[in-house]
Symmetry: C3
Subunit: 454 residues, 3 copies
């Protein structure tokens, strides 16, 4: 016999819900909310569910970045990298609630930013009642905040990998606070907040190749330039010394997590699931997203095989990720063959730009600049090939504007941090590892040379 | 051309479904189930979907505990810890089906427990037809069982970490059988089953700060006291020797998995998603849950930095988890600032109680007692601050009743196990590690000192 | 204040959507799509959502296989195993789009295969409009493709583990291309594509115990026979030398991922969620699937304890997986006790067949043949015990037909690959590890003996 968990249901009446009644009776119960037509409620539920399910997939990407980056650094810096990742996800949430969301979305009106300030989450009963009014928002405000917040956190995750193995914890966290509270929201307001890029240039960036990935990439590039390369990475004679990542299983796990999360990233950016057309669009986005990633991975694998005779696993993983970033600006409009092509070029970008950055002596520990910045630009510029509402000029303006603003502001912030508190650990600390220097806990105390444990 | 997978659709007619017809035609097909109004079916679908999606997130927490605990133990005990975790999740499912669910929910009626016995899962066609009746349950019984089962498994997961590195496998599994089949269901029946705590004291515990987390914590504390500390942890002179966990990447992965799963844990506990109000409530719970965790992590990080000058990663991870446990008793009613405060206190609890337990020479390998027991009490006691239906007295009665019952019964069980079959491995086995002693398979045969492999 | 993300909404109008209107107004907006009754759209949304959510869970299984296999091989072969897994998932997507889906589903009509060719994904606006027509498909074509594709990828994942630690990368990838583009689609067409097995024998395989798991298992067996055992595994005197896996934490993580993903694998195979009956069936499938896995794990654990006095963790994990494979042919019709029995026999199969394969000197690195092939046959043959539409004869015909075809074709392909380009690395390369030989990147350069890193 299955009985009803009615006490638990009754408890949830706390903030004015009559959920227990809903649970106990299938029909005929007169409730306050019945004033709102059920079909309207169904649309509201579907749209909110889209934000929640796709949002938790994007939240999961924070774990993906953490694993990917922890696997790409040497074992003496793994605890630090993990700590940075949980901290940045936490700070992104707090800052995007306190400042960022409203700076990005509140009253931008064709301008350059909105009105910052904390977000107030509506009472569910009030929000439901409000649906009876003309022009009501057709999703729960809290679900929208959650979905937008995880995009903000993603931007910060991108920076974390590039500057790994030498950045100090506190300046990194301060940069994260500014990036998630101010820089990303301002850039985002230009387009998704209805600002000037959207209003005057018809810039198009469906899920954030530029607004999220390039923004993160520019901030990372500024950081890499200010902080400098890791000791031993580049010889005085121009030689490049690989500093191999400590754990390829974590790199792969991170890549799979990101791939999974990207269905939420791109699919959820349809922003609605309340009609056959919208859910069909989400399904199409899933297919294009998956195949662009597949094409990026296979292209990088084949090129690595041809060029190097061996298949560097990190190139394949980054190929998949570059495919994902490339399709993110427009995952809906392209046909499958075009999606495969867009993703494949992402794979080419990885093969070309990873060694190129090393030639420029820009030390990007995880390859975030090729994957997020360069592939993000590529994905944005190719949008007009399938989306007639976008123009190459509009896309170009968006790419340049976001790049200049993010890079310059990030550079100023990194330089200010360098001047005031320093951004880089001492040479001695870098040698012994950031885990010993800043965390006090080794990631793998019993494995290999790191072992000082009993 | 896309053709219909109609053979697969036809196959599913096996138990009386006419799903193929549904798949082949959009409208106008007369079917048995049409007797139930479509709007009623839509509500039933949404509520069931809530249990299934949120339930699989909570199921995923079992992996989170496994990874967290595997990372917190030394490498010689990792296989054992992993085996315990998959076994406890399996046993929880079987016991909660065989005994627990009905002991918790069947005919409790204001009393102290229900009528134990196996759960019968209804035939889908019958259950759907039943919706035409007045007062029908508005969700699939199987989905409710699944959702409640994963909560039961969570309770057992909590115990597993505390007693790690010295408990024997068989007594641990016997304890798990009793915890998931009897102890947790009895405690749960008092409130969620509509028992005395709910009926007479208006105790309020939305998603289980007390019923799940403190219950697990009390059972763990009893185990830690009976089994004693690990060899070498506490010196005869009162000194405390850290026995560092073997893998911080797994600890972080586990924390992220738990954080993700908690959206299901708290959000799904709304128990319904069939109205705009209910889904708005779930969205609000997502936001509060996320920000309480963020506040817990940041608070622990800042305090660790101030007190120790270094940021012990395990404190940050446990800070996030304590924030999650703290908000679990009432994730819906609080405003965002209150949620941040509730979570932040969770972070303080970790910083205060982890060293305090060591002072008391209570050896809690993963910090489950601060995180689940103490933060669970805190979360439960703060409910009246936002939920007017709860009283401090009622909450206090609940906390004490659950604590006394769970602790005393657990103590008796652990002592009985100790007397009859022993609960602790021999000193020799503890030294060589439980993997060699009980599993016969090293977790990392090639890494570090553990290496005896080819 | 929460404002609407209307610019982002406006952008999504790119391919003819009026999503912004949907977002801005709750009702009363006249839209093209309104011609399709809302109830029809709701059914379409639910069915599509089923494919997307359950599909992303199955996609996640690709990560599960990657982790499981990476943990079961020695550390010198981990990067190779990870590379194979991301590559096979990528290739499966491309091949199933280019050839496989239509070969499996397009115009099979009781025959032996369909008409191969690329899948075209419909325009969402067109697809939504099409719902007004009689007999329209009640789910998004793209979501169906996505869901079927991840099953195809699963089949390839199974092969990957068996032939680990000695197969060369390129022949493995060629085999994957043929398996996902041709072999699996042909076998699948016989039943799910409406081919001869379905039309003439009433063969029943709900979610693929035979069509996915045995197919993968037969292909793996053929590979193992052609490639031969790893050096050092079997002594000339008939002795068996265990070559322990390098990372049990990854094995456990992989198992938990697969368990989670299996809710999508079996639950999603209901293929519809648009009625109370269908969602009730999905819920019932969740329960049976979970408990069959639990029974498999517990059975393997208890038998290992009785036979060996120690609980080899890999047997417990494989027990859970064998339970999952066993219930996959019919997860809906059985009662809970029958599901427990079906899963428990899966656990017995692991305990019996893992040593048996070693006796036959068939070197199956991860145990995929017992878990996927033997348990897949068991699960298929027991279907008639609960599903009256299936017969033992029909099931037997299906098992034999799939086995003979897959094994013979796979054998030919492996032998051809062996003759033309070779399938196995040199003895020297096997000794030094495939990571050094083919990938050029060690998985764990700093751990244990593998350490050559700075």
């Amino acid at each position: 016999m299955i009985s009803i968990n009615h006490a638990k249901a009754l408890r949830i009446g706390g903030v004015g819900l009559a959920a227990s009644a809903v649970l106990l009776a299938g029909s005929g119960v007169a409730m306050a909310e019945e004033a709102v037509p059920f079909d309207t409620q169904v649309k509201f539920i579907f749209n909110t569910l889209n934000f929640l399910v796709m949002g938790f997939l994007v939240m999961w990407m924070a774990a993906g970045f953490a694993m990917l980056e922890a696997g790409m650094v040497r074992s003496k810096n793994v605890s630090m990298q993990l700590t940075k990742n949980i901290a940045l996800y936490s700070l992104a949430g707090i800052m995007f609630w306190l400042v960022g969301y409203n700076l990005m979305y509140s009253g931008v009106d064709g301008g350059f930013f909105g009105t910052p300030g904390p977000v107030s989450i509506p009472d569910p009963a009030e929000e439901a009642k409000g649906l009876a009014k003309e022009g009501a928002t057709m999703y729960a405000a809290a679900s929208d905040w959650f979905f937008q917040m995880v995009f903000c956190a993603t931007t910060a995750s991108i920076v974390s990998g590039t500057v790994a193995e030498r950045v100090k914890l506190i300046p990194f966290l301060i940069f994260t606070i500014l990036l998630t509270g101010v820089i990303y929201p301002i850039v985002g307001s230009w387009e998704w907040g209805g600002g000037w890029l959207d209003a005057k240039f018809g810039f198009s960036d469906f899920a954030g190749s530029t607004l999220v990935h390039s923004t993160g990439g520019w901030a990372a590039l500024a950081g890499a330039l200010v902080i400098g390369a890791r000791k031993g990475k580049y010889g005085p004679d121009g030689s490049v010394h690989p500093l191999p990542g400590s754990n390829m299983a974590l790199v792969t796990l991170g890549t799979f997590i990101l791939w999974l999360g990207w269905f939420g990233f791109n699919g959820g950016s349809q922003l609605a699931m309340d009609s056959a057309e919208n859910v069909s669009a989400i399904a199409r986005i899933f297919v294009n997203t998956n195949l662009a990633a597949a094409a990026g991975a296979v292209t990088a694998l084949v090129l690595a095989l041809i060029i190097y005779r061996k298949v560097d696993i990190t190139l394949v993983m980054n190929g998949a990720l570059a495919g994902l970033v490339s399709i993110t600006a427009e995952p809906l409009a392209p046909s499958v063959p075009l999606s495969l092509f867009i993703g494949a070029v992402g794979g080419v970008i990885v093969i070309v730009f990873v060694p190129l950055l090393d030639k420029l002596r820009i030390d990007d520990v995880v390859g975030a600049i090729p994957v997020h910045l360069i592939a993000g630009i590529w994905g944005t510029m190719i949008v007009p090939a399938s989306n007639g509402d976008a123009t190459f000029f509009g896309q170009f303006v968006g790419v340049v504007a976001v790049g200049v603003f993010t890079f310059v502001v990030s550079l100023i912030v990194w330089l200010a941090l360098k001047a005031i508190i320093g951004v880089r650990v001492s040479e001695e600390e870098e040698l012994m590892g950031l885990d010993a220097a800043e965390i006090g806990v080794e990631a793998y105390p019993e494995f290999g040379k790191g072992s000082q444990a009993i």
